[in-house]
Amino acid sequence: MGVGIKVDKLNAWFGKTQALYDITMEAPANHATAVIGPSGCGKSTFVRCLNRMHETIPEARATGRVRIGELDVYNGTSAVQIRRRIGMVFQKPNPFPTMSIYDNVAAGLKLNGFHDDARLDEIVERSLKLSALWDEVKDSLRKKSGASLSGGQQQRLCIARALAVEPQVLLMDEPCSALDPISTGKIEELIFQLKEKFTIVIVTHNMQQASRVAEFTGFFLLGKLIELDKTERIFTTPSDKRTEDYITGRFG
């Protein structure tokens, strides 16, 4: 089952430029929390700090406290171990091009030393079913490469890959922005049903998407978290004027 995320005074830098200022928030378990804001507001950076992907950029660093369930992300465990507990789906679908569909889904397990082949079959099937891709690919699991699928299918493959390691939290960085409307719809429905088992944080620049899939929404502006509340409240009666300006389209 999912666990809650607690963030306490998170700050992040790219070299000397500060990108996030004292972010403090909570994303409740088994719910989806959307992160919205104009370009460059730090929403992607924020989400990438949750699983320490931010550190993969040279000269980038972050300070503060992030707790995922009982796990303290920045103290006590290495970045690599953290990322095995958290799943991430990226903006542009990125299946491993030289691997088959089966191997793509199993990658998170195989590359980390898990080799029980019998169990792997079961896990791959379950993950593909969870991400609503099983029926479309079950006959060509090992024959087709991950990159030969359509855009929407590739993204669902990436979701299956992330889910195969049974993460507690699923982070999604604008997962639908490179997809067509039909695929987007399929994935939004998927998110709706994944909430039962996982805690989801989804970055989106599409406000309607936020209101469709997330119970909570946080509005970011210039590296600061301006407001975090129930989605309906944010989009109907926001407390901060800046939030109101954004959702009514005055900027961004």
Partner: protein, 295 residues
């Protein structure tokens, strides 16, 4: 309609001067002539290789060692085997180091040190092969006290390393960063990502680079002149002078014996065929290895 409009259309309709048209035509002819002049020797070389060499390639040639001076017959079997032996030594040293250097440049070397290494690799690529031979002589032959296949292998390895490093780097940089990120996101360690994901994705390109370096050194003679040195007999010992196909062709070609000249052509034909074959074989293997497992 105003007067000048007509004048403009008159000008547009006026013919380009004869001189300019002539120059244009001449330029085309000259360029085409250049192409013909350049292709002529290519055709001539291949043509003569086949014409003069094919008759002398027989079973004896491929399986026997050279006969003493003046005697007819004999072959280049030991030279062919020797070349393979030396190339094997060279590849086992040059390929791992070259690929390693390429990985360093692509994944870790985006800083000053990386630039220095990159520049140095390009410089190394331009060193004349005879100079590499002198260096291998100094490092290996002098310390061992005799010519050897090892010395020849070292000389060729020195030539392979910078080429392989630069092409490997190029191929790795072509792998989009999103692929690496996908692996990091799954909690795969950096070394595992680099080897099992990044390098695996770039495999066919890297193999092409290795094959190019291999083909380049396979025909080299100069660096072997005073390292491997040549040998009339079979040799499988790494510390003894060894025959090589290119060396044999050279020795025979400059000799005064017709018999040896005949064999030089045959040897040359075999050398070019082997180079082309090696290149194609690696290409096929690389192509087949595209869809492999995560491990």
């Amino acid at each position: 309609m105003p007067e000048n409009v007509t004048a403009t259309s008159d000008f547009a309709a006026a013919p380009i001067s004869l001189w300019r048209r002539g120059m244009n035509f001449f330029a085309t002819v000259a360029a085409a002539a250049a192409v013909v002049l350049v292709l002529l020797p290519l055709g001539a070389v291949f043509g003569y290789l086949v014409y003069k060499g094919i008759g002398s390639i027989n079973w004896a040639f491929l399986t026997q060692t050279p006969k003493p001076v003046g005697e007819a017959g004999g072959g280049m079997a030991n030279a062919i085997a020797g070349s393979a032996f030396i190339l094997l030594i060279a590849s086992s040293i040059g390929v791992p180091i070259g690929i390693g250097a390429g990985i360093y440049l692509a994944e870790y070397g985006r800083d000053r040190l990386g630039n220095i290494i990159r520049f140095t690799a390009d410089v190394l690529n331009g060193v004349p092969s005879i100079v590499v031979g002198i260096v291998a002589y100094g490092i290996v032959v002098l310390s061992q006290g005799h010519f050897s296949a090892l010395a020849g292998g070292v000389a060729l390895a020195i030539m392979m390393i910078p080429t392989i490093a630069r092409t490997t780097e190029e191929m790795l940089l072509l792998v989009p960063n999103t692929v690496r990120e996908a692996a990091y996101g799954l909690g795969v360690s950096r070394w595992r990502t680099t080897l099992s994901i990044t390098l695996r994705t770039a495999t066919s390109g890297v193999i092409t680079g290795v094959m190019l370096a291999f083909a380049r050194v396979a025909g080299e003679t100069a660096p072997l002149l005073f390292t491997a040195f040549g040998n009339q007999y079979w040799n499988w010992k790494i510390n003894q002078p060894t025959a090589a196909l290119s060396l044999q062709i050279f020795t025979y070609a400059i000799s005064p014996f017709d018999e040896w000249h005949r064999q030089a052509w045959a040897g040359a034909l075999i050398l070019i065929v082997l180079i082309v074959a090696a290149v194609s074989a690696v290409r096929i293997v690389a192509g087949r290895g595209m869809l492999k497992g995560a491990n």
